[in-house]
C-alpha cells in the first residue's frame, strides 16, 4: 500500500465515519410527518427534484463521511510511498524477523567525507533505518577485531546502542569472519525471515580474500543487502607504505638514513603534498612530493641523533582525507659505536703485512662512511696487559701466540660480564698452548686439534652456513653464494665444546666459525687467519659485512641472547600478532605490554625450551613496549597498506563472490535520502490531508446550503 499511517492506532477513529451514516438513517427515521392535502403538487415537484435531491443527499453523506475519515487520517499521520521498494520483494513496512548488521569498521571507513567519516555516515544511516524495525531481532557485528565478541540478537534500541559502540578498527576488514559469525548466529534460528545488512565502503581490501565458498555453513535463505558508502570511481588517497633504515645500526652522532615508501592510490596526480619527519615529538625535516596516479616512491630522510637509547618518531603526510594511513610510527635505537680492541699477534713494520690490516680496514673503511661505525683500538700482545677491558665491548685476538694468565682471567671476566671475544688463528697459535691456557678459563668454544693444510691449488670453500644467526643474517638471501669466492687452504681442525655451535663450515665439514655463549657474553673462533696468509677471505666482498656484523653482534652489551641489536624497532601491520621470545629460563615470568594509549596488559611467558609470549592486541598504530625482568623490547604497529587502496570492488566481481546467494548491492549515494530498505520512501501527507479537509468542508457548505 503506497498510503501508510505512522500512528495507525488513530485509524480506530475511522469507526466514526459511521456517524454521518447513522445520523442520516436516524434522521430518516425521525422524519417529521405532516398530513398534507396537496400531495400531488409535492409529487410533481419531487419528480423534478428527486434525482437532484438524492444526489445531494448522497453527496452530503459522502462528503461528511470523507470529512471524518480525513480527520481520522490526519491524526494517524498519513505518509505516501514515493517509490517502489527497490529491495527484495515482500511486504513493505516491516523488516525481517532476524537481521544481522555487519558494519565495516576497517581503516578505509575512516575516510572523511564532508566533515564526518564514512563509518559515522554508515552508522547514522543504519540507525535511522533500524529505528523503524519494531519486530525485528537485530545483531550487530563489525568486520574488525573490536567486533570479535559474541554478538546477540536484541531489539532495535539495544542494537542501535551496540552500533554506537562500534569504533574504527585501524586494520583490515575481516569480511569472511564477519559472515561466518553472522551465519553462525542464524544457525539456531529456523524458518524465519533472515537478512544480513552489510554496510561498507566496498574497498577492494578484505574482498580480495573473500568468497562465500570459503564458508562451511551458508544459509541460502538469508538475504544479503549490501550498502556501499564509497564512490564508484574510488577516492584519492596517499599513504605511507613502509619505513626502513638504510644502516644496520644507528650510532650516536652518526647520520642515519630513513627510507619512507609513499604511494598515491588515487587516479589523480598528487602535487606538493608534504611528508614530515617528527622525532621525539618535534618536526625535524620535511619533503614536498609529487606523485602520479598509482605511483610510489622512496623518500629519504637523513638525520643525526645526539642521544642514545630508544628514539620514537613518526613520518606524516599532510592534506589527506584518510588520516589513518598518513602517520607511520617508528622507534630507533641509537647506540654508542661498539668499542673494539684489536690485538695484532703478528705486527709488522708495514701495515699491509700486519695480521690486523684487513680487519681494521673492514671496521673503518676510510672514505666509505663519514663517521666510523666502530671505535677501534689497536694493540700488540704486549700492550694487552695494560688495557682496561671495561673500556671495550669486543676484543679480537688475531694470531696471538700467548696470553698472560692475568689477561686470560680479565678476558674471562670480560666475557662473562657481557663482552665479546673473537679469535683469529694463524701460525703463531699453538693448539696445545691455547687448549691448555684458555681451556682452563673455559673461554674456548672448541678444542684446537691440528693445523690442516691444503695445497694452494686445492683449497677448501665454505660449505655450510647457519644463515639464521644474527651475525650472518646479512647473507641470508644470498646464502653460500655470498662466500663462493672464499678459499681456505690452511686452518685449524676444531672440535666444538659443549654449548658451542658451528656457524660456518668448510666443504670438508670442518668448522670454520664456532660460537659459544658464556655468561652474558659471547666467544667466537675463526679457524683460519684474519689476513691473506691462510685464506683469501680478506680480499673477498663479503669480508667487510662479515666482520662488521660479527663485531656488531659481539660488541652488543645488553642485547638479547643470540640477537643482533636492532636499529629500528620491528614494524608490524595492525592486527598482526607479535611473538616476544625470552630466554628459556624466563618461563613463567610476567611480560607487561604497554600499547600506544598507555594501557598495560600482563602475560606469563610460556613454552618448552623457549619462553614466549604472543601478543595479539595490536589494534592501534603506534609504539608498543614489552618489559620483563632483565629485558625489554619495542615494536611499532602501522596501518595495513592494503586498506589505503580505496578502489572499490566491481559490482560484477562482488556478485561472483556471493555465488547464487540472494544479494542486493546498493550504492548509498544513488539511493534517495529517505530510502529505507524495510519501509518505502515516504512523503508526509499531513498538509495535503489538511487541504483536502478544507476543500471538503467548503464543498459541504456549498452543497448543504446552495445546491
Amino acid at each position: 500500500m503506497p498510503l501508510q499511517f505512522l500512528n495507525p492506532i488513530f485509524l480506530w477513529g475511522a469507526a466514526a465515519a459511521a456517524v454521518p451514516i447513522l445520523i442520516h438513517l436516524i434522521r430518516r427515521r425521525k422524519t417529521r410527518t405532516i398530513r398534507f392535502a396537496m400531495l400531488d403538487f409535492i409529487l410533481q415537484s419531487q419528480k423534478k427534484m428527486a434525482r437532484r435531491f438524492q444526489l445531494k443527499e448522497w453527496l452530503l453523506l459522502a462528503i461528511r463521511t470523507g470529512l471524518i475519515l480525513g480527520l481520522v487520517g490526519l491524526g494517524a499521520h498519513p505518509v505516501f510511498s514515493l517509490s517502489p521498494d527497490p529491495g527484495f520483494p515482500g511486504p513493505p513496512g516491516r523488516g525481517p524477523t532476524h537481521l544481522v548488521v555487519i558494519l565495516d569498521n576497517s581503516m578505509s571507513m575512516s575516510f572523511v567525507e564532508g566533515e564526518i567519516t564514512r563509518l559515522q555516515t554508515a552508522r547514522e544511516w543504519a540507525k535511522e533505518r533500524l529505528g523503524s524495525l519494531r519486530r525485528t531481532q537485530i545483531a550487530v557485528l563489525s568486520t574488525g577485531p573490536s567486533g570479535q565478541g559474541l554478538p546477540q540478537f536484541q531489539d532495535a534500541p539495544s542494537a542501535i546502542a551496540t552500533l554506537d559502540a562500534v569504533s574504527p578498527s585501524h586494520g583490515e576488514a575481516d569480511i569472511l569472519g564477519a559472515f561466518r559469525r553472522a551465519y553462525g548466529l542464524f544457525r539456531s534460528i529456523s524458518g524465519a525471515d533472515k537478512e544480513i545488512l552489510l554496510l561498507t565502503d566496498g574497498a577492494n581490501t578484505g574482498w580480495d580474500t573473500f568468497s562465500i565458498g570459503n564458508l562451511k555453513t551458508v544459509d541460502p535463505d538469508v538475504k544479503i543487502r549490501l550498502v556501499r558508502f564509497g564512490k564508484k570511481e574510488g577516492d584519492p588517497n596517499a599513504a605511507i607504505l613502509s619505513l626502513r633504515l638504510k644502516e644496520e645500526r644507528v650510532a650516536r652522532g652518526v647520520a642515519a638514513t630513513l627510507l619512507v615508501r609513499v604511494k598515491n592510490f588515487g587516479l589523480q596526480a598528487l602535487r606538493d603534498f608534504v611528508l614530515e619527519l617528527h622525532v621525539g615529538g618535534r618536526k625535524v625535516d620535511e619533503r614536498a612530493l609529487r606523485l602520479g596516479p598509482g605511483a610510489e616512491e622512496d623518500v629519504t630522510f637523513e638525520s643525526v641523533f645526539g642521544e642514545t637509547g630508544e628514539i620514537p618518531g613518526t613520518v606524516r603526510l599532510r592534506s589527506d582525507s584518510l588520516a589513518e594511513d598518513n602517520t607511520h610510527h617508528f622507534a630507533l635505537f641509537v647506540r654508542e659505536p661498539p668499542r673494539v680492541l684489536a690485538v695484532d699477534g703478528d705486527p709488522k713494520t708495514s701495515l699491509l703485512g700486519s695480521e690486523t690490516f684487513y680487519l681494521l680496514n673492514a671496521l673503518d673503511p676510510a672514505g666509505v662512511t663519514e663517521a666510523p661505525r666502530f671505535r677501534v683500538r689497536w694493540v700488540t700482545p704486549e700492550g694487552l696487559d695494560g688495557e682496561d677491558l671495561g673500556d671495550h665491548d669486543a676484543v679480537i685476538l688475531a694470531n696471538v701466540s700467548e696470553v698472560p694468565a692475568s689477561v686470560r682471567a680479565a678476558l674471562s671476566e670480560f666475557v662473562w660480564g657481557g663482552g665479546g671475544l673473537l679469535f683469529f688463528l694463524g701460525d703463531r697459535v699453538s693448539p696445545e698452548g691455547y687448549n691448555r691456557d684458555f681451556g682452563e678459563s673455559d673461554l674456548l668454544p672448541a678444542r684446537f686439534l691440528s693445523v690442516q693444510t691444503r695445497g694452494e691449488d686445492a683449497p677448501e670453500s665454505v660449505g655450510e652456513m647457519t644463515a639464521s644467526h644474527p651475525a650472518l643474517r646479512a647473507f641470508e638471501d644470498l646464502g653460500l653464494e655470498a662466500f663462493s669466492g672464499v678459499r681456505v687452504w690452511r686452518y685449524f681442525a676444531l672440535e666444538e665444546r659443549g654449548g658451542a655451535r658451528s656457524l660456518l663450515r668448510l666443504e670438508g665439514g670442518s668448522p670454520l666459525l664456532v660460537e659459544r655463549l658464556l655468561g652474558k657474553g659471547r666467544v667466537m673462533v675463526f679457524a683460519s687467519t684474519a689476513d691473506r696468509d691462510w685464506n683469501n677471505f680478506s680480499i673477498q666482498a663479503p669480508y667487510l659485512p662479515f666482520i662488521q656484523n660479527l663485531l656488531l653482534y659481539l660488541g652488543c652489551r645488553g642485547c638479547p641472547e643470540g640477537e643482533l641489536p636492532r636499529a629500528l624497532a620491528e614494524d608490524l601491520p595492525v592486527g598482526e600478532e607479535k611473538e616476544i621470545v625470552l630466554a628459556p629460563h624466563l618461563v613463567g615470568q610476567e611480560v607487561t605490554v604497554e600499547d600506544p594509549e598507555g594501557r598495560r596488559e600482563g602475560f606469563l611467558a610460556s613454552g618448552e625450551g623457549q619462553a614466549r609470549v604472543v601478543y595479539r592486541a595490536t589494534h592501534r598504530p603506534g609504539i608498543y613496549r614489552a618489559r620483563w625482568v632483565g629485558g625489554a623490547t619495542t615494536f611499532s604497529v602501522h596501518p595495513p597498506a592494503q586498506e589505503s587502496d580505496l578502489t572499490p570492488i566491481e559490482p560484477e566481481e562482488l556478485k561472483k563472490k556471493f555465488g547464487r546467494l540472494p544479494l542486493e548491492g546498493l550504492w548509498r549515494h544513488e539511493l534517495p535520502e529517505n530510502y529505507n530498505p524495510w519501509q518505502r520512501a515516504q512523503r508526509d501527507l499531513t498538509s495535503a490531508f489538511l487541504w483536502v479537509l478544507f476543500g471538503l468542508l467548503a464543498v459541504e457548505i456549498v452543497v448543504a446550503n446552495r445546491f
Binding site: 422524519t31 417529521r32 405532516i34 398534507f36 392535502a37 400531495l39 400531488d40 409535492i42 409529487l43
Partner: protein, 289 residues
C-alpha cells in the same frame, strides 16, 4: 353553534350579495328578479332598494324609524342560492382552523347574507359523493339548519366537486346562484366542465377557492414525510429542495383556475385561510358592489 360567529355575521350583515345577472326579467328588488317578493307569508324586512314596488313598503316601520323597508314573503323570493361546501379529507388541513372550518364559517356567513337578503339558500356538502343536501329555503331557521348540518360533519373522504356539481345540476330547474367552496384539488378542466353545467342553466357561479397558507407558501423546513389526507400514500421530501418547484406549480394551478373561470364568466376568489374571513369576505363583497 360552532360556526355561527356573531362578530362575523355582524360584519357581513351590513353587506349585500348582489347577483350580477338579471333574474327572470324582474328588475325590482335586490336581484332584479321577476319572481321575488310577492308571497303572502312574511319572512323578513329588508331595506328598500330602487326598483322595489312601493306597495311592499312597510309604512309602519317607516313611521317608526323614518327608513324604508319592504316586507318580504317567501313566495316572493326569486333567488335560489346553492352553497356547495367541500367536506373531503383535504379540507381538514390546518392547525387550529382548518380549511373545513374556514369553509364552514364562509358557508354560514353566506347563508346568513342570502337569508338576510330574502333569498333562498340551500347547502350541499360533498366529498367524493353528495354527503348531505339541504334544499334551498328562505326561512330564518335555514341558518340554524345549515349551522347544525355543518357542525355534524367532519372532513373525510376523497374530493368530488365534479361529481357533486354533476349530480345536483340535474335537479335544478331555473336560474340561481351556485357558490362552490372548495380547495379544488381536482383536474381544473373537469371542474370547469362541471361548473359550466350550472352556467348553462343561467346560474351565476361563484367559486371560493380555499387554500391554507402552508399550501401556498410551503414554508416547511427539514426533511418531511408528507401523508395524503385523502389517499393512503406518502412522500418524503426536502421542502427546501422542492419548495421553488412546488410554489411555481401551485401558482400555475391557481392561475389556471383564474383564467378558466374568467373565460366562463365564473367569479373566482382565492381565499387564503391566514386572511381573516370577515376581511376577505367583506373585501370580496365590496368588490362585487
Amino acid at each position: 353553534m360552532k360556526y355561527l360567529d356573531p362578530n362575523l355575521l355582524n360584519r357581513v350583515a351590513r353587506q349585500q350579495f348582489e347577483s350580477r345577472f338579471v333574474m327572470a326579467g324582474n328588475l325590482s328588488g335586490l336581484h332584479r328578479s321577476p319572481y321575488r317578493g310577492f308571497s303572502v307569508e312574511f319572512t323578513a324586512h329588508r331595506e328598500y332598494a330602487p326598483g322595489d314596488e312601493l306597495r311592499h313598503l312597510d309604512w309602519k316601520i317607516y313611521g317608526r324609524s323614518d327608513r324604508f323597508f319592504v316586507k318580504e314573503h317567501e313566495a316572493e323570493t326569486n333567488l335560489k342560492a346553492f352553497v356547495f361546501l367541500d367536506v373531503s379529507g383535504s379540507m381538514a388541513y390546518g392547525d387550529g382552523q382548518t380549511k373545513f372550518d374556514y369553509g364552514c364559517h364562509l358557508a354560514t356567513a353566506l347563508t346568513f347574507l342570502f337569508l338576510k337578503q330574502g333569498d333562498q339558500v340551500g347547502l350541499v356538502l360533498f366529498d367524493e359523493g353528495l354527503r348531505r343536501h339541504l334544499p334551498p329555503s328562505g326561512r330564518r331557521t335555514q341558518l340554524l339548519s345549515v349551522a347544525d348540518a355543518l357542525e355534524r360533519e367532519a372532513p373525510s373522504g376523497k374530493s368530488g366537486v365534479v361529481r357533486a356539481l354533476q349530480e345536483t345540476a340535474a335537479n335544478v330547474s331555473h336560474q340561481g346562484l351556485a357558490v362552490v367552496i372548495s380547495d379544488l384539488l381536482e383536474e381544473p378542466q373537469a371542474v370547469m366542465k362541471a361548473l359550466k353545467l350550472y352556467r348553462h342553466k343561467r346560474f351565476e357561479v361563484v367559486v371560493f377557492h380555499l387554500l391554507h397558507a402552508d399550501e401556498v407558501d410551503f414554508p416547511f423546513d427539514g426533511v418531511i414525510r408528507f401523508e395524503d389526507l385523502e389517499l393512503p400514500r406518502r412522500v418524503t421530501a426536502d421542502p427546501k429542495a422542492i419548495g421553488g418547484n412546488y410554489r411555481r406549480l401551485v401558482s400555475d394551478y391557481v392561475q389556471e383556475y383564474q383564467t378558466l373561470c374568467r373565460r366562463e364568466g365564473i367569479d373566482y376568489q382565492l381565499f387564503r385561510t391566514d386572511v381573516p374571513l370577515e376581511t376577505a369576505l367583506v373585501r370580496y363583497l365590496a368588490s362585487r358592489g
